[in-house]
Point group: C2
Chain length 355, copies 2
Amino acid sequence: MINFTPGPSQLYFTVADHLKQALRDQVLSLSHRSKDFEKISIEATSGLRALLNIPETHSIVFTSSATEVWERSIQNLVADNCFHFVNGAFSKRYHEIATQLKKQAKAYEVKEGEGFTELSKIPTDTELIAVTHNETSTGVCWSVDKIHALKDAFPKALLVVDAVSSLPYPAFDFNKVDSVFFSVQKAFGLPAGLGVWIVNEACLAKAEALQSKGFVTGTYHNLPTLHSFAKKNQTPETPNVLGIYLLSKVTGDFLRRGITTLRKETEYKAALLYNALQNHSQAEVFVKDANWQSKTVIVANTGSQTKSISEALMAKGLYPGDGYGKAKETQLRFANFPAHSKEQYELLVDTLALI
Amino acid sequence: MINFTPGPSQLYFTVADHLKQALRDQVLSLSHRSKDFEKISIEATSGLRALLNIPETHSIVFTSSATEVWERSIQNLVADNCFHFVNGAFSKRYHEIATQLKKQAKAYEVKEGEGFTELSKIPTDTELIAVTHNETSTGVCWSVDKIHALKDAFPKALLVVDAVSSLPYPAFDFNKVDSVFFSVQKAFGLPAGLGVWIVNEACLAKAEALQSKGFVTGTYHNLPTLHSFAKKNQTPETPNVLGIYLLSKVTGDFLRRGITTLRKETEYKAALLYNALQNHSQAEVFVKDANWQSKTVIVANTGSQTKSISEALMAKGLYPGDGYGKAKETQLRFANFPAHSKEQYELLVDTLALI
């Protein structure tokens, strides 16, 4: 079967072999205070730096999930107020977490399936702007240019980008984003249980300033502590060592294939599926504005035909993701990650054409 | 090689096979919102209930590590003040985390290698009593009777027990402890990256009361949220699905071997090693008072012979744990977990006798 659910999604095809190697090399009982662990950690972070063009000005730290980064980013980077672009369940949850942490969290909310146009809604004194690059629930995705333009327009605010279901596809300019995070079970094709949080020096300075003012910024995973251990290629707690090992290996595989190839293939496969949906009699593209259509999570309105289309695909071993939440009965979602080959996407669109 | 480091320690001998089965069954890309995940979650929690005799009055929730539970337990169970028994690096860190969270955290600190005698040091208005059942850094361990007696003496305080490097050995009476937690990379013989937190209804009520008073108790992992997802056999975030799967399988293996057998074997192996150390010319037992000697982490003073003893053991494939922190050059630590067989312990003491 091929798993098109947008996460946990299809494993990258090399993961099984890496796992067996990890067993042979006793990685699963490796001490997180050992030199061997530090080597794995270095391989993971230097691989990510090369793959995503992350400069040395940015620190890379490990958390247990991207959900954890929602909490840690607000705790460590916001004294009073933050601003959230909300257009679906996941961007809404990030905003809700800021509210639970008793911050003045403003939201600019648009309908599901839509993008954002009015930057004037951002107050100039906002400390943190939260952007969900790719809203996994609806398949709406920011262009990286629009995100970079936010930094130009609001240089004083920390710009934090949730890139959970898009990286490694987007080519962020890390001079224009202060922080980016993702989890590994989406487009990296890895088992769940690890988040990656990239932060620049401005974020670290903000967290330290909040600490010195007496704010509670967390304990073992406050940002200065995470950063101080990352400098030693370690983590404050016993981490998901196997997860970090597998990330290091798959990042290496991605580097060998080449980020340009991965990105071109993502665009090719997305074009195939959007074209197939536009020409389909029983389905249509949910996100109307092509400027906001995600390349990595493609959502189809399938209405009353949802069940029959889904069953016809599954009969061929192609497992689509359900629509999110209330759209479960009326939409299908298709992850388009490096783990999904061109051939699998060609099979998907050929099968769709016959339904 | 046999890994006697007290965590991450030797893998339980069935883990490699379970991991291969997980690959075949596509557990590594399983959705955490699927019925199949719920089945895994039920297998893990019902297995733990049977193994450790946990009543239905107690909820079992998953975190990313026991370190996380240090933070979450203080956030969710303490308004103002808590009391910590401190006799080593890990009990000290729990106390420090309470301080970082701006609580009035008192500590009754004794020297490393020693136990506690003066219960009168606990103020009667203490909200939470933190006990580190087995101080992994020094091999000092509470008897469960002493812990149960704390509850009798201070019935109003929540009694929270860090059992990181001891469970499943201790037979807690869950009517006498409000909360217990552990991480899976110690005595469960599993890869790191998962914590298990057991809480009773009094803990849940306290967390809800704090929330209603406006305390920040965390977001996705505040206790009421963890509990509400646990009731559905799910987790708030995408968890370490593979970790929960492996826990369910190894707990099943432990049940088939029988908890009484596991405990008897633990005691047999501990007696072997303590006896060997007592009769050794170049080593001695660090914890003098037999009432406080750990059965699961056995610490030897090896002084200037540390390196030579360690090397002699490693030459036979027996890898001891270093002494913790400043004791690295003068002590060795030996984990005694279900993953360490009687035969391995017999080989260990036979080898020690020849040094």
